[in-house]
Subunit: 344 residues, 2 copies
């Protein structure tokens, strides 16, 4: 009988490791390949960063509650986030879409309005793409290109023991926005007369539908001459991201629950939904914040920036990856991040 | 009532024109944006070429007769073809896939075997990608990056009146391979006991399943110090490609039917299927040959290359785009190329 290994048995990261373990790089110009937020290519002394994302209707977005303009904006934003996560500046994108005939030209105009709005806001040029029909569902593929001064790019694997673990903005909001939208969708499906009222939840809804990549943090690093020792963006949830950085840097970590940045709006929404705000902050994905490690001596440079929180520090690998709770308990942090293969 | 324009009413190229007409490029480094085989970015004096393709199951390929290894190879090959069509050398690719749980890890291994084989053969590095689940169908998105000496890239819009129109290799084979496979599929579906016999048609089947981008032609240009005046790859059929070059260069053209390169295998298959080999050569897509225009004085440099055929010449735009047949008739060439939106 033919061998059959289920993809779910490997998980997304296991699958990527499996498929890419035999890559042999042929170009001396390939400075960094698969396994980080983006790849880095040497171009005649300066360095080019490249990253790509595939977004599928029904897996990554639900058009029932995602306005097309927001979707176009977000498709660009999440790719730029990967470029910033390399400490690089995005300059160009390509955008490919697959669409069924259920979409009109007007609907696509809306989508591209969002795309162009994001391009303008973040100063990138849309330089190419591919437009094709799909049998079913909306397919979006974005590739972003950026530039970085030679060897100023920041990987995931280079954190050092004793570094501060920092995160930008606040956490868990996008997950709570998703929880709200899914709840309103169910209510609407059961009773189409009830119109959703999202007015009081605009913060968490905005976190879900219109994430803003942290260009400002990269600019702040440059201004203050900070180079993080490691960095990535928060797409799957910081539990998952801390594990990535620690695994790739061969370190342990301590995260302090009371240091996790959670907005008042997110905290309120979590209580309303009967959820623990800490769990939302640790395991909720799609915040598109930056998580990074810093040498301790850089602490003075960031302490006044209200957009940056120090949430813990790195340790020896034998000490594991721990959450110290407000109540004085210590838990192992495990990857609860979003796994696209779990539900398929 | 809300306005609704059907996408099919614009067609693929009309849609792309519509969606991209308002692009405002912000970077001085963007040398060439949407509208050619690839974009060109200036990187500190040298130039980077970037192109992307989205391939969807049921639209671009049928897994019933496409081995996964071939599919992986072809997904890379068709993108490299776009880079060569800029007179550039591909160096890096990213590959994103969306897969449903109907695929096993072994199936993906096969797919990636083809991907890596193409990478090795054409000397490119796979540097990134995204792997996600899809609700239904196999989704493939490839972005290729290449490099070109400053201003040596070749656009579609720069052909001059009186140039020779040339094409590499031979035409129509991939379309005939597709016709054969679709016929065998129907026979198999009606009677699963009948196993397809493709032995005698390996040439046209190979043209469909395993196209080879024309790296050799670009190398030949360099060796002979030829820079075509315009160039693109043959993905939709040369009728469509001649129209692109002529429209973008504001020219007319004459194509001589008897000069169209058609292999013996393709001619034989066409007669067997009751098709006109000329129509297959003009309108069949996916040959991934190069079509290019040359100054007449370059004729001596190419005349001995059996992989290059001169099929016609460019004229004033008022003279239209004509096919001169063997029988002495003159027809207008119209775009019969493959349109992904026609059948959706």
């Amino acid at each position: 009988m033919e061998e059959r290994t289920e993809i779910a048995s490997l998980g997304e990261f296991g699958l990527i490791d499996h498929l890419t373990k035999n890559i042999e790089l042929q170009h001396a110009s390939t400075i960094l390949g698969v396994g980080d937020d983006a790849a880095v290519i040497d171009h005649f002394g300066k360095q080019t960063v490249i990253t790509t994302d595939l977004l599928l209707e029904g897996v990554h977005f639900d058009l029932m509650y995602t306005p097309l303009k927001h979707l176009g904006y977000k498709a660009v934003a999440v790719n730029l986030s990967d470029v910033y996560a390399m400490n690089a500046t995005p300059t160009h994108i390509t955008m490919s879409i697959g669409i069924s005939n259920r979409f009109s030209v007007e609907a696509l105009n809306e989508f591209y309005e969002g795309v162009y709005f994001a391009c303008e806001k973040y100063g990138v040029d849309l330089v190419g793409g591919d437009t094709t029909s799909s049998a079913k569902g909306f397919v979006i593929s974005v590739t972003a290109i950026g530039e970085v001064a030679p060897n100023k790019f920041v990987k995931r694997s280079t954190a050092q023991k004793g570094d501060l673990i920092c995160v930008s903005g606040d956490l868990g909001g996008a997950y709570l926005g998703l929880t709200l939208m899914e709840r309103e969708k169910r209510i609407f499906q059961e009773n189409p007369q009830i119109q959703p009222d999202l007015e009081n939840e605009s913060y968490i809804v905005g976190r879900l539908l219109k994430p803003e990549p942290r260009k400002d943090i990269i600019a702040f690093f440059e201004e203050k001459e900070i180079v993080p020792t490691a960095m990535m963006d928060v797409s799957d949830g910081i539990s998952s991201e801390v594990l990535h950085i620690c695994k790739q840097s061969n370190l342990g970590a301590v995260i302090h629950e009371e240091k996790l940045p959670i907005s008042d709006e997110s905290r309120r929404a979590a209580y309303k939904f009967g959820l623990d705000p800490t769990v939302c902050a640790l395991n909720g994905g799609e915040d598109y914040e930056l998580i990074f490690t810093l040498k301790q001596e850089d602490y003075d440079k960031i302490v006044l920036n209200e957009e940056i929180s120090v949430i813990g520090y790195t340790t020896d690998p034998e000490e594991g990856i721990k959450l110290y709770t407000k109540g004085g308990n210590r838990f192992n942090i495990t990857a609860q991040g979003w796994n696209a293969f779990q539900q398929s």
